[in-house]
């Protein structure tokens, strides 16, 4: 009788250990995947920009400066991402986000500009692109939080070492400029901040 109870307990424990271990591994892979998704969206943004610029170049002749800022920020971002330096990439992408949000603000500021089809399309594409990057970061943070919680809570924490789990770093705003409320300068001709 005693051996049967012991056997049941052992089998129960083994099943339990397997499921906890598998949960940790699955979360780990989800975190890696979510991180890659951010890259996918950033790459998508890089690919999109030349087309966007091309469609609005005519309509926005007078905002050459804003467009050029976007193009140069994009080029810096691509160079940084091929360099493989995470900190440099993060900074360049932040720059690009800033340049694009200025472009979006400019579009918002000119109702005549908005009326042309191309620009409305540009606005939609910019919003979607920025949203996709934002949502992929959000997914990464949510998944990483789940993974970290599983490593710190009983009972999965018992198997964290076996699954080779280590806390995942959450994505956060590294640049103070991005954290600040954007300042939109609507004056014509004046140098853009």
């Amino acid at each position: 009788m005693f051996t049967i109870v012991l056997l049941v307990l052992i089998v129960g424990f083994v099943f339990f250990a397997i499921s906890a271990y598998n949960r940790l591994i699955s979360l780990k892979n989800q975190v890696v995947n979510a991180w890659k998704q951010i890259d996918v969206q950033l790459k998508r943004r890089h690919d999109l920009i030349p087309n966007l610029i091309e469609t609005v170049k005519g309509a926005m002749n007078f905002e050459r400066e804003t467009l050029e800022a976007v193009v140069s920020a994009r080029n810096t971002a691509i160079a940084a991402s091929t360099g493989g330096n995470v900190a440099a990439t993060a900074q360049a992408e932040t720059q690009l986000t800033g340049a694009l949000s200025r472009l979006l603000a400019v579009v918002e500021a000119y109702p005549d500009l908005k009326a042309t089809g191309n620009v409305a399309q540009l606005q939609e594409e910019l919003t979607a692109t920025e949203n996709k990057i934002g949502f992929s970061r959000q997914l990464y943070n949510d998944t990483a939080t789940q993974y970290n919680t599983a490593q710190q809570t009983f009972p999965t924490m018992l198997f964290a070492g076996m699954a080779g789990a280590s806390p995942a770093t959450l994505w956060e705003i590294t640049d103070d400029a991005e954290r600040a409320v954007p300042k939109v300068d609507l004056s014509f001709g004046a140098p853009k901040g």
């Binding site: 979510a34 998704q37 919003t127 949203n131 992929s136 997914l139």
Partner: protein, 350 residues
């Protein structure tokens, strides 16, 4: 739902509630099927047939019949449900978007798929001025989101995103699969209920009464079980329908909370829901039978706004006020006009 529950707490509570409901549902169905076999076995344990061999009921035929009918219906629902629904509404698939509204819809669906960490569902537009939306698809990697033209016209981008987020919530929770399965079980119970009572009326129950006369001592338990079982079958169609409706409403709350998770903007969903409820344009393309799949009941069933026993049986969707209240709770807002809502200052002090 306790006050101030954030979206993850609400999700967890909803998941627990629907797990309990589904477990209860399955136990009830098992009792209707295999419970009958057990009673039959108990009452024929010592039975002997005319040739002198044992006539004990061993093969659990009732349970297997019920399971088989349900399985067949579920298979049909899995196989044909999504296509039939999309066909019935006359929806057209958007493969390459043309025009700003379609582009925006496709973008919003892509955004929400990213937020949900799921594969992008195929996007459909239903030619109907009534604003509504539904999701279908049995697998999360072969799913469909359909919105009506009215919805595209009526909602702004954020509200559209919130509605699509709700549908993405259904997709990642596999709600279409769950509801198809439960509906098949309800259907199987209804078929056997109908068939069983027709058989009894024509005297088909005779054999069973003879064999229960045969049984020896200890029969009291069998009689009690039998009475319980028959009463269960009498109320089974109502009970199963009640349970499946309850699960459906629970999944609506859950999808609302999922939308809030994906957009981090529960206010947009509550404003979209209010707008949908205010719309006076009647649906033309959405069949009544698929009302439960829509984000808000297209037929404005009077039961949806009520609480109580009858509403629990009839309403496909939870009351709008309660949905909005929960969403506002997720947004850390108290709902306006709700009796339990305290003024902001009081709420902060308490």
């Amino acid at each position: 739902m306790s006050a101030g529950a954030n979206l993850f707490a609400q999700q967890e509570a909803n998941r627990k509630a629907s797990r309990r409901l589904v477990a209860g549902f399955i136990i009830f169905i098992a009792w209707l099927g295999f419970g009958g076999d057990l009673i039959w076995y108990l009452s024929t344990r010592d039975a002997v047939n005319a040739y002198g061999s044992s006539a004990t009921h061993i093969f659990p035929g009732v349970g297997i019949l019920l399971t088989a009918i349900a399985a067949a219906m579920a298979w049909g629902g899995y196989r044909f449900g999504p296509t039939v629904l999309l066909k019935a509404t006359g929806a057209r698939e958007i493969e390459t978007p043309s025009g700003e509204a379609e582009q925006r819809l496709v973008n919003v669906v892509e955004e929400m798929a990213i937020a949900a960490g799921a594969r992008k569902p195929s996007v459909w537009i239903v030619p109907d001025d009534h604003p509504n939306a539904f999701a279908t698809g049995i697998r999360s990697d072969q799913s469909h989101v359909a919105v009506t033209e009215g919805l595209l016209n009526e909602l702004n981008r954020e509200e559209l995103q919130a509605v699509v987020g709700h549908e993405m919530g259904h997709i990642v929770n596999l709600d279409v699969r769950l509801m198809t399965l439960l509906t098949a079980l309800v259907g199987a119970v209804a078929i056997l209920h109908e068939g069983g009572f027709r058989m009894m009326r024509f005297g088909g129950g005779g054999r069973r009464s003879r064999s229960s006369n045969d049984k020896g001592g200890g029969g009291i338990l069998v009689v009690v079980l039998l009475v319980l079982w028959i009463v269960s079958w009498l109320i089974a169609p109502l009970v199963t329908r009640y349970m499946v409706m309850k699960v459906g409403r629970q999944r609506e709350y859950l999808a609302d909370a999922m939308s809030a998770q994906f957009t981090r903007n529960p206010g947009a969903l509550s404003s979209a829901l209010s707008r949908l409820a205010e719309s006076k344009i009647p649906p033309t393309a959405i069949p009544k039978s698929s009302a439960q799949l829509c984000i808000s009941d297209p037929y404005h069933s009077k039961w949806d706004e009520r609480e109580g026993r009858m509403a629990n049986l009839m309403a496909t969707h939870p009351p709008l006020r309660e949905r909005v209240r929960r969403l506002n709770e997720m947004a850390y807002l108290s709902a306006p006009g709700m009796p339990e809502a305290l003024p902001m200052e009081t709420a902060l002090q308490g």
